[in-house]
Amino acid sequence: MGAVWDVLTNEVTYSSAVRFAALLLFAASGEWVAERAGTLNISVEGMLLSGAFASAVSIDLVDSMWLALLIGALAGLLLSTVQANLSHRLPADQFVVGLTINILVLGLVGFLDDELDPSVSGAGVVSVPLLSDIPLIGPALFAQSWPLYLVYPLVPAMWWLVYRTRWGLEVRAAGEDPNSADVSGIRVNARRRQSIYLVGLTSGLGGAYFVLGAVGSFEDSIIGGRGFIAIAAVIFGGWTLKGSVAGCVLFGAVVSFRLSLPQQGYDALGTELLQALPYIVTIAGMAMFAHRIRPPAALAKPFLRGLK
């Protein structure tokens, strides 16, 4: 148990937990909106990776952090136009499209990474005065590289968008009862496409943040399935934003915990087992909460107009 104690009292564990949680939050906050609109958008994994790679190449070519972040977000957006228009303009199956995108991006990025081999310079750490002096949590939340801080306004902005704007109301109607929404004069598939563009932007940005603000270098396994964990966080959170944030923090903490243990010199548990830990927690979480949560009624159901 000494190992666990050492890890839990170590500042590094908390800092790295926040960095992982932030990555998940960039992806999950957009994914939450897409799912509320009725799309189980699995291409979020590919969106993260494309954002990460595009920003890595950008920072190599032009030395502007803001521009690299922007290009990362646009790469995610570009990918989301493929997902959105294939699954909500043409009636292609959203999972087949998503799966294809993920495989395609993984292959393409692997190839281009070998060709271009971008060298990345990370963003600088900015400490927020006073707040970063709080023990353990302070530096973890407020002494990070500055792109991470973008996630703090992003999450409440998503809540406001979904619950306080007409667009958000229409998105929720589209995800719950597309036929009624249609009869009420809402362009259901347009709302669904737009919500996918949104997750494209946030996860592209998330990928860029991870390269520039957390890792500081690029390799093609950098995302490594965390897009899927972001999806799991949304489900774990019962399709509420609060719950999704809790899911991201929990899963981020678990990832950080398993990375910190060996760093502290404890390797009694096999690394393979440790690597599986976040996924085990995900499955356990889903098993615990699956029966008491209600997904958006039209989640993953395509909407076609006309007489049935």
Binding site: E170, A181, V183, L307
Partner: protein, 524 residues
């Protein structure tokens, strides 16, 4: 009242085909301000298609929509709303997961202002006498309240023309009265034009000023309500004189009559044994909501027990339960005194319960399979003794059933979708009755069928009861229950609100029970 004002909207020569079916064939219709215009017809007569043209959900192949003398094209419901046409849908267009005010704001444009919408909901509901809580979640409200939301949503856009599509199908008799009162106000005080679409003769006569009757896509008669009589309306609607009691009940013609002409019916045999028993059955939904609440009743051999009630009070759940589709949280279901496990696939069927389900397309048959395959879907061992289908045996057995139940089709190999709705229903009925069941559950067995098919279905239910089957008829059509049932239990909020036999039938008490009135106040 007899001088027609200027037409608020006119439909001219509207024609619409779906494949080979002509849903509307050169239909003309003018809706006047300050008048309630009844549009009467059987299921499939083209009423709904015509109204969908009016609100832009269906685009006609030919014909014109004229508003204030101008020919217009209505592209979609929002466009229709902009042109002053609104509709209160039969299957509501409200989103259960949203609150009342959110639903009413849905489809507006501009910035969302919750406080303003809430205030407006309050004003509207006071004005029309339709009380409603703006912050309630719509899914938690009973059907009558959800319809109020639908009506307020429609009236909020201040339409000149309001279409009500079968508005009373989810209402208790008292709620229907309230609705017609509000309708009158909309018409008399505000000069709107109202179209009331219905297949129920009595309510059309009761609530309208003029009537247009449709049959098979065409207008067959236009008449002022004051000059009409029920029998000739019924004749125009069905295309022949109707005299049979069932038919009259199916048309909603004379509830009193259907309920009282039964002096020739024997009292149920006193020694009839209970075949199906439900004892304290409770069931909960996935979200923990109580769907069936300590439900107890029994059905005797040779009787038809009618389960009356307003839609959404547990009918669907009761049907699902007896189709082995849903588990229960407490209580017991017994057939011939032996308990049956609930929620285990096929258990109810093996215990001798046959089901004609509420939605035959959803759970009654497979449209892409052939008639013969559908006939043996539930009991394939009869035609496939060792797991391999014996085609000759299947064909012979299918032909026998097709003849016995007079199923109109090209043969056992024709796909089920090629049959009419009434004949698809016969296939389901033939399959269920061919097992020689002890209990027959008929859930909304005549929904969406025409008068002839309703007649056939009613005869079959009576016949089944005569041969000693315990028949449970679950229906939201009160006329159907009154016509067929020997005994009636009223289902309200998932529990039995009251029970009465044909002998001590009291329509007023029945209506109150359906509306969820407290039983203790009504104890005879």
């Amino acid at each position: 009242m007899q001088t027609p004002g200027p037409a608020a909207v006119e439909l001219v020569d509207i024609t619409k085909r779906f494949g080979r079916v002509v849903a509307c064939d050169g239909v003309d219709l003018a809706l006047q301000r300050g008048r309630i215009h009844g549009i009467l017809g059987e299921n499939g007569a083209g009423k709904s298609t015509l109204m969908k043209v009016l609100i832009g959900l269906v685009h006609p192949d030919r014909g014109e929509v004229i508003i204030d003398g101008q020919s217009v094209t209505i592209t979609d419901p929002i466009d229709a709303a902009g042109k002053g046409i609104g509709m209160v849908h039969q299957h509501f267009s409200v989103v259960d997961a949203l609150t009342v005010w959110e639903n009413i704001a849905l489809g507006d444009v501009g910035r969302l202002d919750p406080a303003a919408v809430r205030d407006r909901v309050g004003d509207l509901s006071r004005h029309y006498g339709l009380a409603i809580e703006p912050d309630a979640r719509v899914g938690d409200l009973p059907a009558g309240m959800r319809q109020r939301v639908e009506i307020l949503k429609c009236l909020r856009r201040d339409p000149h023309v309001v279409v009500f599509d079968e508005p009373t199908s989810v209402l208790t008799p008292a709620e229907s009265e309230q609705l017609f009162d509000a309708l009158r106000r909309v018409v008399d005080e505000e000069g709107r034009a109202v179209a009331l679409v219905s297949h129920k003769l009595e309510e059309i006569r009761h609530a309208t000023d003029t009537i247009t009757i449709m049959r098979q896509g065409s207008v067959v008669e236009r008449i002022a309500t004051a000059d009409s009589d029920a029998a000739s309306l019924a004749r125009a609607m069905v295309g022949r004189w109707v005299s049979l009691r069932t038919e009259r009940a199916a048309l909603g013609l004379g509830i009193e009559e259907a309920a009282t002409v039964d002096d020739d019916v024997d009292d149920e045999p006193a020694d009839a044994r209970d075949v199906l028993e439900l004892v304290g059955v409770s069931a909960r939904g996935g979200d923990g909501r109580v769907l069936l609440d300590d439900l107890s009743f029994e059905v005797r051999a040779g009787e038809i027990l009618g389960v009356a009630g307003v839609e959404g009070n547990g009918q669907r759940e009761l049907g699902d339960l007896l189709s082995s589709l849903a588990p229960i949280s407490a209580g017991e279901v017994r057939v011939d005194g032996r308990p049956v496990r609930c929620g285990v696939a096929g258990a109810m069927s093996r215990a001798g319960i046959a089901v004609v389900p509420e939605d035959r397309h959803d759970s009654g048959c497979v449209l892409e399979m052939t008639v013969a395959e559908n006939l043996f879907l539930a009991e394939p061992e009869r035609i496939a003794p060792r797991g391999v289908i014996d085609r000759r045996r299947m064909n012979d057995a299918a032909i026998e059933l097709i003849e016995r139940f007079a199923i109109s089709c090209e043969g056992p190999d024709s796909p089920l979708w090629s049959l009419s709705g009434g004949n698809q229903q016969r296939v389901v009925l033939a399959r269920e009755l061919s097992h020689e069941p002890k209990v027959l559950i008929a859930a909304q067995p005549t929904r969406g069928l025409d008068v002839g098919a309703i007649e056939y279905m009613s005869d079959q239910l009576r016949l089944a009861a005569e041969t000693g089957v315990a028949v449970l008829l679950i229906s939201t059509e009160l006329e159907e229950i009154l016509d067929l049932a020997d005994r009636i239990v009223v289902l309200s909020r998932g529990r039995v609100a009251g029970e009465m036999t044909r002998r001590d039938l009291d329509l007023e008490r029945l209506g109150l029970l359906m509306g969820g009135a407290d039983v203790s106040e009504l104890a005879p």
